[in-house]
């Protein structure tokens, strides 16, 4: 269905105060210079290096068994981490935005805590908690459960690092939406899950999706925390970024950048999705 665009404000054309053209040109030029040095050159470099030994070497680098194992491990991690943190994000946002209680501000600050923690410390705390040299870790080891230097360790460290993403997207969104619609549904006799499924979830779906995309992007790319708990065992505990690091430190630059180019592609995709979702957002709030 086509909709006629509605003019944003009164049709009086108001002249915006603006800077003189030379100033504009200089400032835009400086900004472009920064983007060239810090965004475009690094991006161009990835592809130039990735293809420096030709197409065939590129394809070989991303299809060799160790690379594929790394991709598999990263995807496994994402498949576990994103649903868990998304479920938590929705639950936490529901508790925080739909009720009044004491200590709400403190709780919100605590949710953001992982952002203030260095990735290396994020890895360290799990080594201290369940590493083989700790009481709990050695007990787990006796039961035959290995966490650090194996997949579970990578998963928990990633859970910690990406912990706030979904909640952080949803809380401001749900705060702005208020609770009138849910309360109206309640007075009309809807049950809790009905309210959530038919009112809240449709309202927050784009925010939830975006939070999950951010969470996946970080899960795929996390380096510091994973590097502490992984042990760098090729074909077993190597995620994509760790594989990139190993290839790089072996001076196999073409292969390293070839694998890195997958990550760059995913990052660009994330950025693109954000733009699309923002447009969707604006359209949605426009119809309200």
């Amino acid at each position: 269905m086509l909709k006629q665009p509605i003019p944003e404000s009164a049709p009086i054309v108001k002249k915006r105060i603006s800077d003189p053209l030379p100033v504009q040109i200089v400032l835009i030029g400086l900004t472009l210079l920064f983007f060239i040095g810090f965004i475009f050159l690094p991006l161009g470099l990835v592809f130039a290096q990735a293809f420096s030994k030709g197409w065939e070497y590129y394809l070989e680098s991303i299809r060799e068994p160790y690379a594929l194992e790394a991709v598999k491990l990263t995807l496994t991690t994402v498949a576990i981490v994103v649903p868990l943190n998304a479920f938590f994000g929705v639950t936490a946002a529901w508790a925080i935005t739909k009720f009044n209680f004491k200590g709400k501000a403190t709780l919100k600050t605590l949710l953001d805590l992982p952002f203030a923690v260095s990735p290396v410390i994020a890895g360290l705390i799990f080594v201290l908690l369940v590493g083989s040299r700790t009481p709990f870790g050695s007990w787990l080891g006796e039961q035959g459960i290995k966490i650090i230097f194996s997949t579970p360790g990578i998963v928990i460290a990633t859970l910690f690092v990406t912990f706030p993403f979904v909640a952080r997207e949803l809380i401001p969104l749900m705060e702005a939406q208020g609770r009138d619609e849910e309360e109206a549904a309640l007075t009309l006799g809807a049950r809790g899950w009905q309210i959530f499924g038919k009112i809240t979830l449709p309202n927050i779906r784009w925010g939830l999706l975006y939070g999950m995309i951010l969470c996946s992007a970080r899960s795929i790319g996390e380096f510091g925390a994973v590097s502490v708990v992984s042990g760098h065992i090729r074909g077993q505990t190597n995620t994509i970024p760790l594989h990139v690091e190993i290839l790089y430190s072996e001076y196999n630059f073409a292969a390293s950048f070839a694998v890195a180019s997958i990550l760059v592609f995913l990052a660009l995709l994330t950025v693109g999705v954000k733009v699309t979702l923002e447009k969707q957002f604006q359209k949605n709030s426009f119809h309200h």
Binding site: I17, D19, I28, L30, T31, L32, F34, F38, I39, P42, L43, L45, F88, T91, A92, A95, K98, F99, N100, T109, D112, L113, A116, V117, S118, P119, V120, I121, L124, V127, L128, L129, R133, I156, F160, F163, R179, E182, G192, I195, F196, L214, I220, G221, F223, G224, S227, V228, P241, V244, E245, Y248, S256, A260, V264, L266, A267, L268, V271, G272
Partner: protein
Amino acid sequence: MEFFQRKRRNILPGFGLSMGYTVFYLSAIVIVPLSMIFFNTIPMGWEPFFHAVTAPRVLASYRLSFSTALFAALFDGVVGLLTAWVLVRYRFPGKQFLDALVDLPFALPTAVAGICFATLYSPVGWLGETLSKWNIEIINSPTGIVVALIFIGFPFVVRTIQPVLEEVEQEIEEAAQCLGATRWQTFRKILLPHLFPALLTGSTLAFARGIGEYGSVIFIAGNLPMKTEIAPLMIMSKLDQFDYPGASAVALVLLLISFSMLLLLNAVQEWQQKEYR
């Protein structure tokens, strides 16, 4: 508004369940693991703790992380303000494209950023080759660390200034102009004070992120002891030697710095909200 919200009763279902799960998950994933830092430093006693965090190599790493993050945050403050200004105020082809790419440092894995900058500034790299002719060394030097941190912190500043700049009312600027202020005076005396809290918030976020950053830095830094060894790398090397108390001690100091940055930020935001009233 606030008055009504305070009087409002909680009538929706699911408080116990959602709150219980939130607290449980938060404790299991964040609070309990983080507390391990304290449990590993407390048995150390004061003296060994002090000894561990004031060892010359550790002190040098703190100094390096702190100063490089500060320089990067200052640079980001300037470039971020410039970028936000250009993106909000001007119209030019490719603007939306640039705007979207501001988020790239958020989305790009840090290790990829790290190998990019290390290769770009290596003596045979695209930029390093020219720079080495002028005897400017970026790789294996604190400057290289600053370069990586500028990239990492850049979106924080742009994304905090942009919404504030978008909401500045044109009337304020028009009034200043009617009263005879030049464009520069209007910017310096009217707009800059208005944007300052956001600028400070963005730069503080970039700074806090820079102190703990690891992936993008280690490739370009060279990691020479006493010279280009950042604090997170100190934790890493202590861990490799199974010096768990030592690693925790260094981490505790780093955490305290980051948390005080966060508290400072909260104070700034409160001050910012008061300004608007």
